[in-house]
């Protein structure tokens, strides 16, 4: 039976939501692992959830990136274990060097919580296998610091390697400034590492994986992941 772990930092607050979505896809609950633990149980998938780890002190994700458990997460990632970072989890993954770039304050300077449309840029990854390429999915964002930035060299590498997983777009799939909720460069909503086993994204697919909550476009990410790690 494949297993997943959700990492919990002081200030994480989407850990339960992530666990609920993973449990629905896996058929059993993931383990929660405390940030102070220095070793991870053997798992097939690691999720770094949203929230305000360490109160976003210093910079979003900066403190969490230096916690004992993240050394283990990095080691697992380097051995090929899928690592999914959502929202603050994405910020942590950039701060610990698993992903390039940085998440700056939203261009509006306001916290933004609303549904956005995302274009699935590729579906040949463990995270996006449940979608088709070019599909437009609707999931919410809820963040203050989601304005993705990378220098032009990094950006060229990301684009050249096809490592942009999701872009903010219109309901028709057009990537426009008006569809960009936070000012992210090239409308980037989520990126992959070189090996394709680490995904960081600002939007919350785990929040729209239940029809009662207004949508299920987030669910295929988790069912796809469950299938991939079971294989």
């Amino acid at each position: 039976m494949s297993s997943a772990a959700v990492i919990v930092f002081p200030g994480s607050n989407c850990d339960r939501d992530m666990a609920v979505a993973l449990e629905a896809a896996l058929g059993h609950a993931p383990q929660t692992v405390w940030h102070g633990d220095s070793s991870l149980p053997k798992v097939d998938l690691i999720a770094v959830p949203g929230g305000f780890s360490y109160g976003d002190y210093l910079r979003s994700g900066a403190m969490a990136a230096n916690s004992p458990i993240m050394r283990e997460v990095v080691a697992y990632a380097n051995r090929g274990t899928p690592v999914l970072g959502i929202c603050n989890g994405f910020q942590v993954l950039t701060e610990c060097g698993l992903l390039p770039g940085v998440l700056m304050r939203n261009a509006s300077l306001k916290f933004i919580c609303r549904d956005v449309d995302l274009r699935v840029e590729r579906n040949d990854t463990v995270f996006t296998a449940g979608y088709s390429q070019g599909q437009v999915i609707r999931v919410p964002v809820a963040h203050h610091d989601g304005n993705y930035f990378a220098d032009s060299e990094t950006l060229a590498a990301l684009e050249g390697d096809g490592r942009v997983a999701f872009r903010y777009c219109t309901p028709d799939g057009d990537v426009t400034d008006a569809a960009n909720p936070n000012g992210s460069v090239a409308n980037i909503a989520g990126i992959l590492n070189k090996a394709g086993n680490v995904l960081g994204m600002m939007p919350h697919p785990e929040r729209l994986a239940d029809p009662l909550l207004g949508g299920t476009d987030g669910a295929p990410m988790f069912t796809g992941l469950a299938e991939a790690i079971a294989a």
């Binding site: 339960r16 939501d17 919580c113």
Partner: protein
């Protein structure tokens, strides 16, 4: 002990006679620490001395009530061994002085009240009143308050699911920030504040104590003047992450059986928490202040006892469980310190640097707290204004557009998009509907929550306005299909020492009491905020009601948009075209005058019970209550929510502007797939309904008026607030 025999010049807000009572209780003059303790305990904010007499008249009981007023929050049974725990509380004065921190710590404080009782907070709500949009401070205050509410709630990971935002010049110098939290707990795991038992360790947990917020409760009990800005040091600074850790640590410790009593340190901090626990447990408490975790050096006992530093709790543990508790709090990186013990003395004794610095008998400190039956004069009744005496608009459609694009009726999307309203994964009804709908995690049930008050009605007729606040909250909860269980109230008024203000409070409480009784919605918790005045100008009387209801099957809930194309549209309840005190009269005809619409509680109950039953029976595809702006505004909001239009067929028998914009109470607009079945059900229930059209097309057409496209409605509705907030002062 150092005593001054002479009466001090500064009685810290106490009256001469209150000071005399202290002399009687102690048999000597109080020292400064003791005087500070009496001062905050007997402040309006902590003692409810002006309102208590009237609050006692409110209905507080019902089979669903597990805990009524008097604890940190009210508790109602929702079945399955679960309870909803909730309360609303004001943070008006601090938010005016420092809007971000004032609002943020208001949210933090009310969440603490709820998790102190063992509940995990699952929803935050609020009721906000700002001054005129033209006032130079308004934009700054709106921006700070909204950011502060979002900043704290978002970080806590508790969704902010709804609320109210309104503007009126009466709040120019004194805004209102009322925050409500709803939590869930197991009925066999509810925690109270009575420190029963002696020889028990008194334990301080959470953030360290600093000099912030000293005498905050006293500030909250005084009027403002032009120098209010200098009170900024009395506002506390919040740290939402610390409170998130405190929440998790408390809930983890609560899962054990180590806690005997727990009380959050809110207003009046260490003073009120220790006094309350000792009084309810009928014990004494001795505290050694040297052991209080301190953020600043050289703090005096006076400062420690009166600090309102945030994110702190006081607990009484079973003896020998301190280490277990410490391990949990250290895991969550929080301080835990044993600072005292309970004993038989029934006295609060404070020790500091080897000396006794305060020694006060607890029962008289609490029981002798002043209670005033202040003189009051009833608000004179206003004349009823006939619909014909309120001018018709030049153009009905344009009048509707003006209203839905106005500051009070336009979309609040700009506000609630700054609140994380989806975290925790149970927000079924997002902001913008009648009541927020939050699923009870892991069940098929949901809680419906609404906050309401119509201050222009209350100022016109406090009794009817008080009734209406309860009725509207009850109606909003009903409109999604839920059964209202209980309410929490936040009474915001001016200076109670003025008889006309006291008369507003008395009338509003009488009206609320009548409505709560008639609608089976007892008051289980609440808060009173008086002295909301600046330079002698009082706010509009604003008794806010927060209502919590339960829907057994969340999938049966309905939204506030039109149902499907072709569904019949009905107005439920009688329409007389009451324009007195309406939004139409105020914003289009000029001046909110005359008597407000009366609330017939029997009809309110009958109509609401009918609606709830019809929703449960699947007869209704969309439902929206009729309130500010009448039927026309309700139809516009339903069109915007659903994207569907409707053409109103037939001509009303009353002046059409009165039909469209009148604010008769006890009404709903509903859409029904099976019109005959619905008509039969209404007839059987004796509820008057009128069929006004069918859902269809892309426009809303009022009787005899030009059609307005749904796109135009949406555009007008969404524009004002973001443009106002983006504009700059000249």
């Amino acid at each position: 002990m150092s005593n001054t025999a002479e009466r001090p010049d500064d009685l810290m807000g106490l009256s001469d006679s209150e000071y005399d009572t202290i002399l009687d209780i102690l048999g000597r003059a109080p020292n400064i620490t003791e005087l500070g303790i009496f001062s905050v305990m007997w402040s309006e904010h902590c003692s409810y001395k002006s309102s208590k007499f009237w609050l006692k008249t409110l209905p507080i009981e019902g089979p669903q009530v597990i805990q009524g007023p008097g604890e940190n929050a009210g508790v109602v049974d929702i079945g399955n061994g679960l309870a909803a725990i909730f309360k609303i509380e004001s943070h008006n004065h601090p938010s005016f002085i420092e809007p971000y921190q004032g609002a943020a710590t208001g949210v933090g404080g009310i969440m603490r009240d709820v998790f102190t009782m063992g509940a995990r907070p699952v929803a935050n709500m609020n009721a906000l009143r700002f001054g005129s949009p033209d006032h130079p401070k308004t934009r700054h205050l709106v921006d700070g308050v909204i950011s502060g509410i979002g900043g704290y709630g978002n970080c806590m990971g508790v969704p902010t699911v709804g609320g109210e935002v309104n503007f009126d010049p009466a709040y120019n110098g004194n805004i209102l920030v009322n925050a409500m939290t709803v939590g869930l707990a197991r009925t066999d795991k509810i925690f109270y504040s009575a420190a029963a038992g002696v020889g028990l360790p008194v334990v301080y947990v959470g953030a360290k104590t600093g000099r912030d917020g000293i005498h905050g409760a006293t500030m909250a009990s005084a009027e403002f003047d032009d120098d209010s800005e200098v009170k900024r040091p009395s506002v506390f600074i919040g740290a939402a992450t610390t409170e998130k850790l405190l929440l998790e640590a408390c809930l983890e410790l609560m899962a054990t059986d180590a806690i005997i009593a727990i009380q959050d340190m809110g207003a009046a901090g260490l003073t009120s928490s220790s006094v309350e626990m000792a009084d309810k447990g009928e014990v004494g408490i001795t505290l050694n202040l040297d052991h209080v975790p301190q953020r600043e050096t050289a703090m005096t006992p006076y400062e420690m006892m009166l600090s309102e530093s945030q994110e702190r709790m006081l607990m009484v543990l079973k003896p020998g469980r301190e280490d277990e508790a410490r391990a949990i709090f250290e895991k969550w990186e929080l301080d835990l310190a044993v600072i005292g013990q309970t004993n038989y003395s029934q006295r609060l004794v404070l020790e500091w640097q080897g000396e006794t610095v305060a020694d006060i008998p607890v029962p008289p400190l609490v029981a002798a707290a002043p209670e005033y039956e202040r003189p009051w004069t009833a608000t004179p009744p206003r004349a009823v204004i006939a619909a014909d005496d309120v001018a018709a608009p030049d153009d009905l459609a344009d009048a509707l557009l003006t209203l839905i694009g106005s500051p009070d009726l336009c979309s609040r999307r700009w506000v609630w998009e700054q609140y994380d309203h989806m975290v925790m994964g149970d927000t079924v009804g997002r902001p913008g509907g009648d009541a927020a709908l939050v699923r009870v995690h892991g069940t098929g049930k949901a809680l419906a929550i609404s906050t309401d008050c119509t201050p222009r009605y209350v100022v016109a007729n406090p009794v009817e306005g008080g009734k209406q606040a309860v009725a509207e909250a009850w109606r909003n909860v009903t409109a999604v299909g839920a059964t209202p269980l209980a309410v929490t109230n936040n009474l915001n008024f001016g200076n109670p020492e003025r008889p006309e203000i006291m008369g507003q409070l008395v009338g509003a409480v009488q009206g609320m009491g009548a409505a709560c009784t008639a609608l089976d919605a007892p008051v289980v918790s609440g808060n009173v905020s008086l002295y909301n005045e600046t330079n002698g100008e009082a706010i509009l009387p604003t008794p806010v009601i927060g209502c919590v209801g339960l829907i057994e099957d969340v999938t049966s809930a309905v939204g506030a948009g039109f149902g499907a194309e072709g569904d019949a549209v009905f107005v439920v309840g009688e329409t007389t075209g009451w324009l007195g005190c309406s939004i139409y009269q105020r914003d289009i005809a000029g001046g909110a005058e005359g008597a407000p619409p009366p609330v017939d509680l029997e009809i309110e109950r009958r109509n609401g019970d009918f609606i709830r039953g019809a929703i449960r029976d699947g007869r209704i595809s969309g439902c929206h209550d009729v309130s500010d702006g009448g039927i026309a505004v309700a139809l516009a909001e339903m069109a915007i929510a659903s994207g569907h239009g409707v053409e109103i067929t037939g001509k009303p028998e009353i002046p059409v502007h009165a039909w469209a914009f009148g604010e008769d109470q006890g009404r709903y607009v509903v859409t029904c797939p099976d019109s005959e079945g619905f008509e039969a059900a209404a007839e059987a229930a004796g509820v008057p309904i009128s069929r006004i059209g069918n859902v269809g097309g892309g426009s809303l057409t009022l009787p005899g008026a030009k059609p307005i496209s749904v796109a135009a409605l949406r555009d007008t509705h969404s524009r004002w607030l973001p443009e106002f907030m983006a504009s700059r002062l000249g």
